[in-house]
Assembly symmetry: C2
Homo-oligomer: 466 residues x 2
Amino acid sequence: MAYNKVSEEIIRKIRNVVGGSVVIEKSELEPYSHDETENLKFYPEIVVKSASTNDVSQVMKIANDNLIPVTPRGGGTGLSGGAIPVLGGVVLSLERMNHILEIDKENLVAVVEAGVILEHLQNEVAKEGLFFPIDMGSKGSAMIGGNIASCAGGTRAVKYGVMKDLCLGTEAVLANGEIIKTGGKLLKNVTGYNLTQLLVGSEGTLAIITKAIVRLVPLPLYRRTLLAPFDNIKSLTECALSFFSRGGVFPRAIEFMSQPSILAVEKYKNINVPYNDKKGLLLIDLDGNDELSLDREVEKIGEICLSKGAPDVLVASSEKQKFLWEVRHQVAEAVKSLSVYKEEDIALPRSKICEFVEYIDKFCEDNKIWGIYYGHLGDGNLHLNILKGDMPDKRWEKELPHIIGEIFKKVVSLGGTISGEHGIGLMQKRYLPIAIGKVEMELMRSIKRCWDPNNILNPDKIFPAY
Amino acid sequence: MAYNKVSEEIIRKIRNVVGGSVVIEKSELEPYSHDETENLKFYPEIVVKSASTNDVSQVMKIANDNLIPVTPRGGGTGLSGGAIPVLGGVVLSLERMNHILEIDKENLVAVVEAGVILEHLQNEVAKEGLFFPIDMGSKGSAMIGGNIASCAGGTRAVKYGVMKDLCLGTEAVLANGEIIKTGGKLLKNVTGYNLTQLLVGSEGTLAIITKAIVRLVPLPLYRRTLLAPFDNIKSLTECALSFFSRGGVFPRAIEFMSQPSILAVEKYKNINVPYNDKKGLLLIDLDGNDELSLDREVEKIGEICLSKGAPDVLVASSEKQKFLWEVRHQVAEAVKSLSVYKEEDIALPRSKICEFVEYIDKFCEDNKIWGIYYGHLGDGNLHLNILKGDMPDKRWEKELPHIIGEIFKKVVSLGGTISGEHGIGLMQKRYLPIAIGKVEMELMRSIKRCWDPNNILNPDKIFPAY
């Protein structure tokens, strides 16, 4: 596909739509040249900050008529390069569309513009006694539109689900500028194909989500946090699994921090974390509306941890609770501060975590790779960072893709997949054929071609070159 | 599209695949000529009972090469005509593919063939201390494949979700016979477009689902059922809404039976139902793993009902519990036994139920229509039966479609849609443009064309003629 450059005339046309809300100065374009993915930089020719769905529609018409690539952008917190304008063109930023349009207590939904920051939504619905469960370290800047486009998950998915479970409807703009509405404030809806779910996780390649209807739940009245250290990872993973088979307990988060990830946080933040001499920590969060019942659940969890080999279980005070979760949310940054890195986001049937961890430990040792992993054990979602350390540049560049491919093949052989919540974006597309068969891939591509025949919407993402 | 007839040669080819598992005698074809939708009958030319995904694949290749329409069929319990072979051709029955392949306690999923009967799955997982939440009156014959294809919901969706929330993966056969796999035993998965969710609710028009991975939950240890009568429907609907705003209560079912639907059951089954002199009954089910906490929830629910105008609240003994749920599950059959009927399956934001009920009462009175409604109040899903009674045939045939269209327009104006769980199938496709915009419809059709270019998979369903 031969794209055109953003000419003076096109800039004029775009200004007619959004007025001064464009950026064309190179120095001001820098923040839009990257997301949180490693140190990649690709500059857009222009950044357009839409104020409305109608703005987005008009800009898309201009882009489509002139064959200009458009990269939609939320908070820019992505970890697979999904928001990076690799082919230049337009970055369409949703940052000005940051209004919570409605908090609907009766239907337990919020209607939001795509640029609403996750933490802002959490805070505003909490004022109404409601809870939006998606949570992650980047909540202070991640935006709901991007969360939907990448099917964000985070730490509470084990109880409350991921974005696919929470997004009930969208307003979105197609590549040709047409505006569509999908879904509604409806728990049951089987009226033609589920276009909402097709957009969730489509990473801005099918349409630009401008508004969304998301589910809320009543704010849980009580919360407890436990920390359980383990001397070996096998016991830790078996312990996490056994929560599900015991009945009567249902944590909202079952997070795993390995010793190297804990040590990284200690170094990064200059703090001390309890049990830093142990091989791994389980951080368990529970919530509920009945305090007595919740405390019985806490007891059961504690008993299970002890029976599975934890030498101790800490039930956190509210101050400690805050501290422990700050530690957890610092892990990603801390690990990545150690070295140049590649971050992977594998998802497994949770019963396979133990086998995978044994495999990866041996694999890293055999191949002289520095790997640190941690993550959402309850969901089977592990973040594996491969750190360059003193690996020679040549090996890092030439051999590493092959090494990652080997790991992904193992993951897929265990019934897993190559991305749980970060998306494929730019970074993982070369590996997509490991997880997705030829026929399935062609079905996906055929949808992309129908929806975006000129391939202007976030091109060069998800799908590898033929 | 000009289809071909099922010739002797094609029958021979099909027999080469499935042996004797075909039906061609007219008398034996009758059960496959209809589903539970009114009294429609369209005979297939042949019924093929596949024993494996590979069978389905080979039969589809034959059908695709020869332009023969294929209608996939599960339990035949559908209520929108989705499984009726309107164009003749092949009915592909999944009834022999009735094996539960795996009950995976660690990952809380079951892997099943499409022909597994819902109640059989419920019973088998219960033996392992697990729970498959989808439940409905037809559970004794409805099959999981059909449940997925129509995104079944039923009575427990308010707490546990509908099929879209519970189906994590599929194996399916495309129109051209190619076999695809989607999703997995994964709670997080953002690896290309969500083909699983595209298949859920696609009513057999995109692929034939042959296997599925569905979520299970631990079998709740305790269960309670309450019955609350109301003197007027407005109070009843307001009461149901207020459960959500109070916090601390989370029923798994909030069902509504109107007085006419109760009287219909009494007549149909020759029984007495409590509070049959009241305008409507709320049937509320709760479950949990902590008995004390559950009983506090029951108390709160009872208090809310009384405060919202219920003169009394019955907390059912286990015998009464069984009886009341049998009554609830008899409502559909009982109402339909009263007269020739049309059954609608509207879904609304639950806050709009009250307004809709006031509208429909007046609409029926003004237009001299006999309407009886009941349904899943917690989900905003109402079943509205329009009964012919002594309406003249001419009015029933000529005016009724217009009347239904008017009702659907009102539903859509309230943010609702025309099917919550029955699907569009054959019966509702003429109304689809009321709920789905032109652009969105064209996107859906474009997917259908890509996946099934010869339009042989369940043709003439969902989409109205151009």
